[in-house]
Every structure is written in structure tokens, then in C-alpha cells.
């Protein structure tokens, strides 16, 4: 399933031409609630190329999770069009086009670390050396020593790394990540940010990443999608013009601050 985009060259933005891997037109999601309805997402338009690293940023309740769940076919849109790799979200799910990392690690407490990573491979009946593949993924996130441990024996950051390994295990071209580092301390978070970027560069996957941290969004992304609440909609899209591979020096780059300010202004505008 490894696709051609795993080019050794450094991705620029937009990284590639050709058909978009995600294409969203006038997407809308309305939830019925007792005595009315909540417009979680309205008039969303977005096109994402293969190999991009996209961050969705915005205040709580602006529909970031909803947008991600719509793309993952975990919710059905009430209006609009949504195509993943040229297919409907349902077809894309059936073809196992994406891995999903939740805000909580959501590891199965009755499975060891290794067996948690094996889960998707077993469910999908992936041919070949599954055990070897799962071990390789654990190594990728630096947890190969813990394969026999149960999740509760790991710290929160380690658990989240296992859940990333689990999402990567079946080598999906797309990775959806919903505030995966939201509950972690700053130091662990910055460390995992670097690891995530390394993974992204090495595998050439497309990542769609939800966060509500402006520095995190700027540091990671090729483009940042700024969203605002009530009703949830896309306020603007900021292209991040920073060189790859990124490192701690990136945070000192003047452009880093320019982009951060740009995003902050957009967020404020939506708040007014």
C-alpha cells in the first residue's frame, strides 16, 4: 500500500500536484438536540493534496472533531460533498484508507502493548509477517522494550505513542489525529511533535491533525485550517512557509512568529 509519494525529497507546500486526497465541498453537519439542533459545521470547503500535513485549529466546540469524524465516516454529513481519495467516505473506510488517533490513547486494557498494535492487522487479516510489522511500528515510536507490558503500566505519553503505532500499523495513506497530544505536558509534547514530523517525512503520509495550540499548528503543518465556532466554519487557511526538516531552531525563525500572529488574528476575527 506504500504509494509513490514517499519521495525522499523534502515536501513543500502544496507538496504534490494531482488529484486531492481529501476534497470537501459545502459540507454541513447538524446534530438534532432536545428542543432544537446544533449546527456543528457549516459551508466547509477544503482540498488537501497527498503528502500534506494539515492542522485544524480553533476554539472548543468549533467542529474540529466533527469534521474529522465526517471524513472518517464516523458521522454522516447532513449536506455537501466529501470525497476521500476520490471515493465516498464509506468506501474509503471499507478500503482502510486511513488510521485514526483519538484524543485519548483508547488502548484496549486487556491487550498487551504489542497486541494492541497487532489489532488492526488481525482485524484486517493483513497478509505477511504481522508480528514483525507490529514490532517494527513499536520500534518506530521507540517502545520496542515495552511490548509485553499492559497499557496501565505505561505513562500517558507512551500510551499515546502506542496508539500512533497502532494507527500506522496497516500503512494507511491517510492519518487522522484528534488532539493526540492535548493531555500531555509541554516537554513530552514537543518531543512527540518532532517524532511525528520524522514519521511523516519518512512515510510520506497525509496527516490531518487537530489541535488548539497555535505554536504546535505552525510548527507541524504545511497548511493550517483556522476554524471558528457558532456555527462551526472555516475562517481561513494559512500556508506555513517554513523549511523542512523542522527542528527546535524552527521556533526561532521570524516567519514562525508571523504565521502565529496571522492565525491569532484569524481566530480573533471569528470571535468578534
Amino acid at each position: 500500500m506504500t504509494h509513490a509519494s514517499a519521495s525522499p525529497g523534502l515536501p513543500t507546500s502544496p507538496p504534490q500536484n494531482g488529484p486531492p486526497i481529501v476534497s470537501i465541498r459545502d459540507l454541513q453537519k447538524v446534530f438534532p438536540v432536545p428542543g432544537g439542533q446544533t449546527v456543528a459545521l457549516q459551508d466547509a470547503n477544503l482540498s488537501i493534496q497527498r503528502g500534506e500535513f494539515i492542522s485544524l485549529i480553533g476554539p472548543s466546540g468549533c467542529g474540529k472533531t466533527t469534521l474529522l469524524r465526517l471524513m472518517a465516516d464516523l458521522e454522516q454529513p447532513t449536506a455537501g460533498e466529501l470525497l476521500i481519495a476520490g471515493r465516498t467516505a464509506d468506501q474509503a473506510r471499507r478500503e482502510r484508507q486511513y488510521g485514526y488517533v483519538f484524543q485519548a490513547p483508547a488502548l484496549m486494557e486487556w491487550r498487551t502493548v504489542l497486541k494492541n498494535v497487532l489489532l488492526p492487522l488481525d482485524v484486517m487479516n493483513v497478509p505477511g509477517d504481522r508480528l514483525g510489522r507490529a514490532r517494527e511500528m513499536l520500534k518506530l515510536v521507540g517502545l520496542e522494550k515495552f511490548e509485553r507490558n499492559y497499557p496501565w503500566q505505561l505513562s500517558g505519553g507512551m500510551q499515546q505513542r502506542v496508539s500512533i503505532a497502532r494507527a500506522l500499523a496497516f500503512d494507511p495513506p491517510l492519518l487522522f489525529m484528534d488532539e493526540p497530544f492535548g493531555a500531555l505536558d509541554e516537554i513530552t509534547r514537543e518531543h512527540l511533535n518532532l517524532e511525528l514530523l520524522r514519521l511523516w517525512r519518512e512515510t510520506g503520509k497525509t496527516v490531518i491533525f487537530v489541535t488548539h495550540s497555535i505554536p504546535e499548528a505552525v510548527f507541524l503543518s504545511t497548511r493550517v485550517v483556522v476554524m471558528t465556532a457558532r456555527p462551526g466554519r472555516i475562517e481561513g487557511i494559512v500556508e506555513i512557509d517554513l523549511p523542512h526538516p523542522r527542528s527546535d531552531d524552527t521556533r526561532e525563525d521570524p516567519r514562525f512568529f508571523t504565521h502565529a500572529t496571522e492565525i491569532r488574528e484569524l481566530l480573533k476575527k471569528g470571535h468578534a
Binding site: 438534532p32 464516523l74 458521522e75 454522516q76
Partner: protein
Amino acid sequence: MEQTVTPSRTVAARPGAALPTAAALLVGVGGLLLVCLILPVPGEGAAPEARAWLAGILALLAVGALGVRGAAQGMSRAAQVAPALLTGLLAVLTAEGLLRAYAVPAGLIPTPTRVLAALWNARTVLLQDTYTTFVLEALLGFLAGTVLGLALALLVVRFRFLERGLLPYAALFSSIPIVALAPVIVKAIGLDWPSKTVVVAVTVLFPVMVGAVRGLQSASPLHLDLMHTYAAAPTRTFLDVRVPTALPFVFGALKVASSLALISAIVAEFFGTNGHGLGFRIQIEVGRFGLDVVWAAIVLASMAGIAFFSLVSAAETRLLPRR
């Protein structure tokens, strides 16, 4: 299995389904009622042709079940309560019909109508038995066991020594089968009701004690620290922090204990009484094949059990703040 993701899919109640549902229920219940009226009481009249009746009764039951299924659709109050009531009704009618169709002798399985009759005819004796078993034995024993269990729990929580010395025995004691305990106590104390009260108290004591200790010890360390920063007196901390956290645990234990109490009372009566009590009645009447009285006693015991449980639940809702 995937349905769980979108619960909205299951909500839709078809409005047009009310008529067939009502019809199915009418046919099921009415038909079974008719069958029960037509068929003779077992032992009277000519034995009916069982096979044909069986087919008929099962068919009517199936129709009734379809009706129940229809009545269970939707989220209304009626849809949540009616199915259980209708199922009870259908079950009783089916039992009556089948017992009549097969002319099962009353000495083997009495028909529901016979049980009702026995309930009425033997009402004075049965009510006396219920009073003995429920009030004198189960309720008194439950109260005594609860008071004792709570007192022991307080001691255990207060003195670490007792926690390590006494608590392990409590867990041990609660796995002794009541049936093995009862004869010993009945022999030691005598045949009158107090011996059964003691059996009940002993069986109730240990679960209540274990539950209360667990509850008292589960107070949040943060809350305890908070009270400490207030320089609160130990009694205040106890009343304001430990007791509220312990109450849900205590009531959990009390609910278990309430059904345990009735079971112990009945089982203890199997090992000797002065001629009163539901357990005694059941044993005596089983020996005489007076199964209609046995069933009547079971019905009363069940009602006592449900009443007991409801009593504890009512106390719980009064004392526990609902989330």
C-alpha cells in the same frame, strides 16, 4: 454492531404499526383467555386432545409475542412498561392453558387459578407465615445485622489493628453457605423464631461490614487533605467527607443483604420451627403434595422480597443525593 455509532437510526417508530400491534395483542391475550375458559380444569371432564391444543396455544402465544414486540417500539413510557406486563399476562395464560390441555394433575403442577384459590383459602395461615418470616425473622435480623455490621465497620476503620485482624475473617465468613450455618444456630438457640432472626443477622452482618469498610476507606485523599487544611475536627471530617462517600457502598451492600435476609430466613426454617413461617409451609406442603399452597407461599415470599428491596431502594433515594 455498527449501529451503535448512529443511535438515531433506531429511534424511528412507525406510526402505522399501532393497529396491527393492538390486533395481535387482542388475538393473543383474548385467544388464550378463551382457551383457558373452554378447557376443563385438570381432573374434571374428559381429557382434551393435547396435541391440537398445544399447537393452538403456541400459535396464539406467537401472535401475542408479535404484539409485545410491536408494543416495545419507540421511546414512550408505555413502550417501556407495557411489554413486561403483557409478557407476564401471556406467560400466566399460557401456563394455565397448557396445564389444562395436558390435564396435569394439581399434585404435580397446579394451574395459576388453583394457586390463586389456595392463596385466598389459606390466607390466614399464609399471612401469619409471611409475618413470621418477613417481619420477625428477615426484617428484625436484617436490622440487627446491619447495626452490628456498621458498628464493626466503624471499629475496623478506627483501629488499623482490627482492619488487619478482623477484616480477613469477614470475607472468609461471607463465603460460608447459609445452609450449613443455619442448623447449628437453630440447634443452639431453639425452634422459635428468634433462632432464625439470629441466622439472618449473622448472614447480613458480614457483607454490610465489608461494604461499609470499603466505603469509609474510599474517601478521596484530596478531600481529606482539604479538611486537614481547614483544621477540621475529626468528627466533622468523618461526617462531611467519609460518610457521604461511604453511603453508596453501604446501600449497595444493603440491597444484596435484603435478598440474602429473606433467603436465610426461609432456609433456616427448613431446619426446625415451631410450626410457622413460609419456609416451613413450603417444606411441609411439598411433602403432602399440596403444591397449590406451595406456589401460593412462593408468590407471597416473592412479594415480600420485592417489598423488602423496594424499601431499601426507597431509603436509598431519600438519603443519597441523585447525580
